[in-house]
């Protein structure tokens, strides 16, 4: 047995499908996000035959319990069971949900566990389904995602002076460093209110201004890690406005 890739049997692991792709004649390649192992690639044999196995369960945004075995990069799915009520995502909410999956696919390495992010993912899906606190939970998810990939935002102190963030003052957020007090001739960074930084940290947004600034900051912070390629799910939003 290969020591680096021991033969593994994983049983009833809480998971979500991020993406599926047809594979060979009747199989699917799955990218999943699961609680204890993070992002994993699986082969679901017979999932596309005329009498498909795992019928209807291998869809994104549905909580499922997956069991698999195998070693190395690609393991084989053994069974799939429903893992709870499926959130009903309609309309624009589906685009937001695709956005989450696209972020996870683009930013997570395979087989790194991210339990906190998994919890944030569940929260944001149910917020989208119930249309309650959608923005808060989206921002929270993005924030946890940045932390989990090792680039968490600094929200509590000025990185130049070390002083605590004053909610009455204005700052410039320099993406690879953190917030510094705003000065008239600053060229770089994103202008942001102290109260927005605090709002992000507390995940509570008192007004539309803090929401708008927080969204802008997250977008810029994520863009650094996404490289030049834009997110397709975000384009969908934009295009819909010009139908």
């Amino acid at each position: 047995m290969n020591r680096q890739h021991p033969h593994k049997h994983i049983s009833l692991q809480p998971s979500y499908i991020l993406h599926t792709r047809p594979y060979r004649d009747s199989s699917l390649l799955l990218e999943i996000f699961c609680r204890d192992h993070g992002r994993i690639g699986l082969v679901a044999r017979g999932a596309r035959s005329s009498k498909p196995r795992f019928a209807g369960l291998l869809q994104p945004f549905i909580p499922i319990l997956l069991s698999w075995h195998g070693q190395g990069e690609l393991a084989t799915l053994r069974s799939a069971e429903p893992g709870g009520p499926a959130p009903l995502l309609a309309g624009d909410r589906l685009y937001s949900a695709f956005y989450l999956n696209e972020l996870l696919l683009r930013l997570l390495q395979r087989a790194d566990p991210h339990t906190r992010l998994f919890d944030a993912y569940i929260t944001v899906l149910s917020a989208l389904a119930e249309s309650k606190k959608e923005e808060e939970s989206l921002r929270h998810f993005e924030q946890v995602l940045l932390q989990e990939i090792g680039y968490g935002l600094i929200l509590d102190h000025d990185v130049e002076t070390g002083e605590a963030i004053d909610t009455r003052l204005q700052y410039t957020y320099i993406l690879d460093r953190g917030p510094v007090l705003w000065q008239k001739n600053t060229q770089q960074g994103i202008i942001i209110q102290g109260k927005t930084l605090q709002a992000i940290a507390a995940n509570h947004y008192p007004d539309s201004e803090t929401r708008r600034q927080a969204k802008h900051l997250m977008r810029s912070a994520l863009a650094v890690h996404l490289g030049g390629r834009p997110l397709k799910s975000r384009e969908l939003y934009r295009k819909q406005r010009f139908l």
Partner: protein, 197 residues
């Protein structure tokens, strides 16, 4: 013992969905041993189809004519337009329902994670069709997958903005099935889409 040519035939048959090496071999030997006329006819029709079948310029379905039989028909109701993902869905609807309207075939669905956007599934043509003003209801019959739903939603926005009615086929429990065995997302859709009796 397979000769080079037979080997090539077996290999070529494997391009069919669900045909592995073993069934390809059976097909090849059947055609050569027992059914030469069938083999000749298959070859002729296959090459003619591959040459001549294109897309209907109105609904995008597969057709060897510029206008497919459904679009050309005078008997169908041009005010109803049913949007489906693939030509095979048109057949399924024709066989199962008494739908009398016309179709529009997307030849795919929006899938942001595969990089397939609205411009890749002929929505500009659909927009032109809607702007002609004849259609007064668009029935969205894309697949009940998340991509199909996103596609239906996107098109519904397009349709509603033109003050045309957009409807979506219902999701529900399959006839002859048992609730116990229906998957959770289908059941949850069926439940939220319940109707008064």
């Amino acid at each position: 013992m397979t000769t080079a040519l037979i080997g090539q035939l077996i290999e070529a048959l494997r391009c069919l969905p669900g045909v592995g090496p073993k069934s390809a071999q059976r097909m090849a030997y059947h055609l050569l041993e027992r059914d030469r006329p069938g083999a000749r006819q298959l070859a002729a029709i296959l090459s003619e189809s591959a040459e001549k079948v294109g897309h209907c310029k109105r609904c995008r379905t597969l057709s060897e004519k510029e206008l497919c039989d459904i679009c050309a028909s005078q008997k169908r109701n041009p005010q109803l337009l049913c949007v489906v993902e693939s030509p095979i869905d048109v057949q399924a609807i024709l066989q199962a329902t008494d739908y009398q309207g016309l179709f529009f075939v997307l030849m795919g669905h929006i899938s942001p994670l595969d990089g397939i956007g609205p411009e890749d599934i002929g929505l500009d043509e659909l927009a032109k069709r809607l702007d002609e003003g004849e259609v007064n209801e668009v029935i969205l019959a894309t697949n009940p997958t998340v991509e199909g739903e996103a596609t239906a939603h996107y098109i519904a926005e397009m349709v509603n903005r033109r003050k045309i009615k957009a409807t979506r086929i219902a999701h529900g429990v399959p006839m002859g099935g048992e609730l116990e065995f229906v998957n959770s997302s289908t059941l949850s859709h069926a439940f939220s889409g319940r109707q008064a009796l």
